[in-house]
Symmetry: D3
Subunit: 335 residues, 6 copies
């Protein structure tokens, strides 16, 4: 089915990326890895949970920045490496950032990282505690030294996700303005920066859908992995939230953004791609959460592997074909 | 034990209804079907969940109206048929209502249907979106063409359940006035109509119980299946809600209403008949929900089969003997 | 200015109605009576406040049903009479209703009455306590004996206002579905009844306006006096509510409804006609409330006198010309 | 590892207490009993759940006071006996208290008991319904007759836990002032009494930790089992609560209180000892709850067995060595 | 009218107390002083407001403890003296308490004091900040040195009011358990102490009234001045609160408590005695508040002068005859 | 008293600014203009209220940008001119901004403007509706043409106030991150921009004070007029909010910020300078609001005139001497 090509996908070939074929009889656009979860909650001696993490190809293998809450339930970032992007060696010591300015560099808390390679280095963005949650920014060349820059925005903000190349000559980021609590609302915005220090040109991208049209994304939404450039536009995997009488449910779907004006949404999936249905997604520290933060893809085969946090406790993996996701997004679009 | 007869049950014999004997050692009044859930969440290609549904005997077999939320998480009604009332063939296309008046007939959303045969036809009532939730009404002769009537009430209302015959010469309905959110309160009321178009003669039936007396039903209550006429009064299976620090818990119990003045409650069970305890009731889109919407019974054997939604995700089945339920209701009554 | 006639107003001539000319320099469509408030809070020995009341022409003079909260702060209805519709003689004993059915006739509380003459009698509708607020209905020929009918709706409802003649051969009523608290939402609906007992044919009339377009009516709205028939449609004076950080603010504006299908709004004023600005409107038991419940008009001069509750404490009076109000409604319409 | 002794533990030897060695490869300070839960929810014919219960050595075996919610979901206390402290014989009839003063002795509800032996008798403290939750107090010599005393405090209070001997010549109790709902806050206080009737000398002990430092205990905390006297101070096992977007999560940790001034906290664990991770802790009437109410220990081997409620549904058991817990508390202390 | 004597009032004669006859035409049981407010908000150079204060006869004149919020809006207590109990000389320096125990004596905040003479000294009780509001206790002989005792209760509590003599051989206090915010509930309780240090024997006195019966006191209630002993029981002036959509309204009424068992309410007024109606009661830092904290009475003339805070900003005075208040309480009683 | 000079004030001489001497006997640092309010609510034919407005010296007189809510209660900005800065001629037509980018330039709503002259032009900042409130930025040379720039931040933000000169070579702004409702929290932040388009270098300035230390500013705070440069630092007049049980109370105080690192607060007044006490501040659309948005000062006499919104309804004026305000800020500082 993956030959339905009407799209071209940017990026390098990545033959070594994880893969498992669609199970027999399965008609879903996205399917789970049969060995999920790939990272158990207590992989580290003091980890309470490992989830909502970001990984990228690095050298011959893979590197990542992981959200590891410790048994104090403090939110910490850790660096990890892997040969196959499935079995991870995560460092026991939390990641520390180098920063000249103590005001910015003082650690309060950090969570839900994303990692994005642009031009010559890897940028990390995460939800950074600075008098409330905002978007922290840092870069590394080697996953050893991380240089922390200014926070991108004034609080309160979460889910800051960079684009993998400059747009209109500037760095570009998606983010989700928030409040300082569990935030019962949230739209995705787009911002630009000439220098990764000053940000402006803020554009509204999309709001939650109406309850009547697409309820899984009717309370708030937020960007997931780094967008993937295709001939059909930027492919964005994003999470959406529904509020039941028993709390929030996090699912994820897909959208296509204009290549040059990414704040213009061309298509946006009405159905979710994946919602919490498995035990490890429905049971844990926060039940009913599927939260994607990273993806690998191979431009040749157009395969994608999506990494997502499960129940705020463990990390799962799901597979699909980019052309099929694009076709699904366009066919079911609510725009 | 089912010979403890001091009640007569109205209705036809229904030899073909589903049945499974009480498990050895079980002393519960109601017991679950061992093959629960009978309908998986993804029976349809685009269904996220199938639950809170209504079924009735129809011709040689059974027909039903099912709540099938799709993967947009939109709430839709679908028609289904079955030979044994356990294995269901549900149509992929949502049910559409015929209606002369566009103002009423325009579909917004619909959920939690009940089906009731009165005189010559099957009436469907459901929670219908019309500037907020209210009680939609329609009828069908054949489960092919459904004719939509006026909504019974102004919003906000849910859980509209018809009686299976006229009372005092008029159609009669139970319902639960609500608000437009997750409604942290709710009493059952009784209303009459000469013509299924205009409703009045509203009477209060019952309130939530006190926390000290029967906590499972202390926040709100709502009618479940169509009431069953017995010599002891109308047997009403109804759900009740408890608010824990982690959300609502839906259980169900039973009451006996006066035959001629059904707003007068004669007995009402202090204990629940069934509460969420199995995995498929405790885990799903809304954990800890058992929500009955339909029942089959055989007047000869006085057996009853109760259909209930599980965790707002799948559909379950439970069995019992009507005389035992009546005896339980009277013995444990909190009135 | 009142000669700008392009409308005809139904109803009798009423030369004796209260009147005061528009003050010099005033350009407002509606202006306050210079001797406001006309009824002090302690007119009765045990009244805490007298407001949100309804008056009509009666015999040679006027009669009314008044909301008089006593010093227990219980909400009670009282009958009153007046020669000039300004100075009122209100009976010390609360109004009692005659009712055959104790279930309905038992007094719990009643407030915010409206009075409407239809065909041969005066109907009173009010917010009636019956397991929550709903619309009570009664009639009288003489303001001595009041015969209570069934409540029009299941709870929760407020602001039930009858039309002064049958429409489409049926009685017609506006109302505002609510919850059982201070209700932070509320739309106006239209319903019909063949017999003042059973109600149906519920139609949505209008919602609060958007905050951006007309903020004084952005939280909830409700019908005020009995609508006035004009050649331009039913003239409806209605209240709207804004939520500031310090509570609700009640103002009022105007709308024109289709004569035959009154659920269709032809025009609706963007600006308010009157908002709380005077001491007696801004200070009292509930600050910042102007709440109209009745109006007198003279079809010859097309003058109108609007009675409105002030700060839930006293009763005020305001004047205007119906053609000017119609012109204002059309000119500023947000539809 | 249990030989790391730098502490002496008060109390008698208790060779018969339940025990299971630390599983191979486990590095946790506390480990679960492999046969958890030890008490199923429906051990009694009418029990909905059995949890948050208190047990003590008694004669040759063990006795306990159990929280058994019935299928009305009423909270009741029951007496039980056991030979091995694992298999329990719980009486079907609820415990009744003897009390001269009807005002105090009238049963409303009772839950979350603790039992403490002081000098010559067993004291029971529990959350007692008296115009809101407060701390009920009773004593027994034989677990047959229970003599109820005055409530220790005015409402609202929960989690009253006695010290096992007088301090400064007075009885001493920890408690947690609350409100009358699900209480989103809560500190532990210390109080003294000369006579178990009048209480005073109230001292603040500890507040929730900051979200940044120890999030599992950042909303509210409450004492668990009776404190254990050691050379390092009173060892207190206490629960803490985190508020996720999907509700409260109850974990437990440890603290060391000054022997003579127990309101002075010497050490307090940053990490939890145990958090909800097993199915029977994550799924049930209130998901994600581990709530300790009792412990047995043997002063010779310094072993401890902690009894804790699981998901407000069943009862679990966990094991550890007191010196290791002390060392953990000191090493990870956030004070 | 004050000759309707069927009651005897305890206490000394107090010829010098403030007085003003009932205004002509006034039929109210209680009437305001014509020169209200007697204490302006800025009497002190740094006072933002002076209200909710307590005064007593002292030597030849009067002394008092005043709540003076400063322009930081910090709540402070100040001592004042007066010859006529109307014109007050309030000290600029806040009152400081002598206390051996730093834990208790450290000032956080204090407000709403009461002063009560028992046996040989003046006791001050107030809402004292100690990890939340609780009841502070101190005594003085001379209004120069104030000796602070233990707090009477664990937080959260407000409105602690002592009885003017021992009851059943013990000190006795009314109080109102609360939460740590604006507390939307609240009952009055009674407690005893053998020594002013340990408190127990807690008894429920009364709850808010139902909305339907006496709405001004339907949210919460609290004791006002020190109760006055009469042959008809303890006369208690107490405040009650109603919640409008625009906030709380504080009025006050009266009750008669059993002389020997003061937790038994014999009579309780349905109507309020006084509600916010004057500008200085309706406008200020907290609009619509009349909050009594003290009263003077003369046992010979049976006159009473009630001091009450107005709009949390200034202090007012109202007059009445005790026998008339007793008659009113009995006649309108809702018990 | 104004000779207590130990500070020098930047800025030009402004002999024509409004002034009124301190009233006799007044010891306040700031005193109100005796003819307040200076702008009535209905100055324009369609204005509901005129408040929270900004004025500056312009040519021979003064110009301003005014918040004029119309009788739809829509929030609009209007331009006005004055000779004496007291009597204003406000244009009836709302201000319109010129903007090349329709996405930014589309008017939704705008309120609470500030105006700041920097180098060669006047910048206007205001709370601008763009998918929630954020900081709009525009400039004008002539108060005729206004050129709108990019919004400074992503929503949600309010109270954006520019510094009157570049700092560290960049434009500098204070702002207050918010949510999209009535925002019960709020800190002041500092941001820089090289070009008025991109903003970064975000620094935390100050949080609300503790309730115990300075309650009038314990909920949220926000910058008021453009800061004034003095030898003691930037003088900032800012508003603070207290939450009573009847809503928010807005007062204002003062702070001194470091000249080169304005995010460092040197001094901050514990007491307020002005709080709502006059009728026109306590009564209106939002009672109890004093909200400063602009100030004029004369560097020679060191006089200041502060313009502040009153009860969200009218505009008031208050006077003082800058050296006295500085002395007050340092003397009462809570830092």
């Amino acid at each position: 089915m993956q030959n339905m090509k009407n799209s071209k996908v940017a990026g390098e070939t990545l033959l070594s990326m994880p893969w498992e074929n669609r199970p027999a009889g399965c008609k879903d656009v996205i399917w789970r890895y049969s060995a999920n979860p790939i990272i158990p909650r207590n992989l580290l001696p003091t980890s309470n949970s490992i989830f909502n993490s970001a990984i990228v190809p690095f050298k011959e293998g893979y590197a990542g920045v992981f959200r590891c809450d410790d048994t104090n339930r403090r939110m910490r970032l850790h660096v990890g490496f892997s040969d196959d992007a499935i079995h991870w060696n995560i460092q026991e010591q939390p990641l520390t950032f180098l920063c000249d300015d103590e005001e910015i560099g003082t650690w309060v808390y950090g969570y839900d990282p994303r990692v994005c390679f642009i031009e010559d280095r890897y940028y990390v963005t995460w939800c950074n505690g600075y008098h409330g949650p905002t978007i922290g920014v840092a870069y590394t060349y080697d996953f050893i030294n991380f240089y922390q820059l200014e926070n991108a925005f004034i609080p309160f903000n979460r889910n800051g996700v960079l684009f993998p190349r400059k747009i209109n000559g500037r760095f570009a980021m998606l983010s989700r303005p928030s409040d300082n609590g569990h935030t019962p609302f949230g739209d995705i915005f787009y911002s630009e920066s000439p220098d990764m220090e000053f940000w402006g040109h803020h554009r509204h991208v999309m709001s939650p859908a109406s309850f009547e049209e697409s309820a899984w994304q009717c309370i708030k939404i937020g960007a997931g992995p780094v967008p993937i450039e295709t001939s059909e536009g930027w492919l964005l995997i994003y999470h959406g939230v529904l509020a039941s009488c028993n709390g929030f449910v996090y699912s994820f779907g897909s959208a296509l953004l204009d290549l040059n004006q990414p704040w213009k949404v061309k298509y946006r999936s009405g159905p979710y791609l994946l919602s919490p249905q498995k035990d490890y997604e429905c049971m844990g520290d926060v039940p009913n959460v599927c939260f994607p933060c990273a993806a690998l893809h191979d431009s040749a085969s157009e395969r994608i592997a999506i990494y997502y946090g499960c129940a705020d406790t463990v990390t799962g993996l799901a597979f699909g074909y980019i052309p099929e996701i694009i076709e699904f997004t366009k066919r079911t679009s609510i725009i």
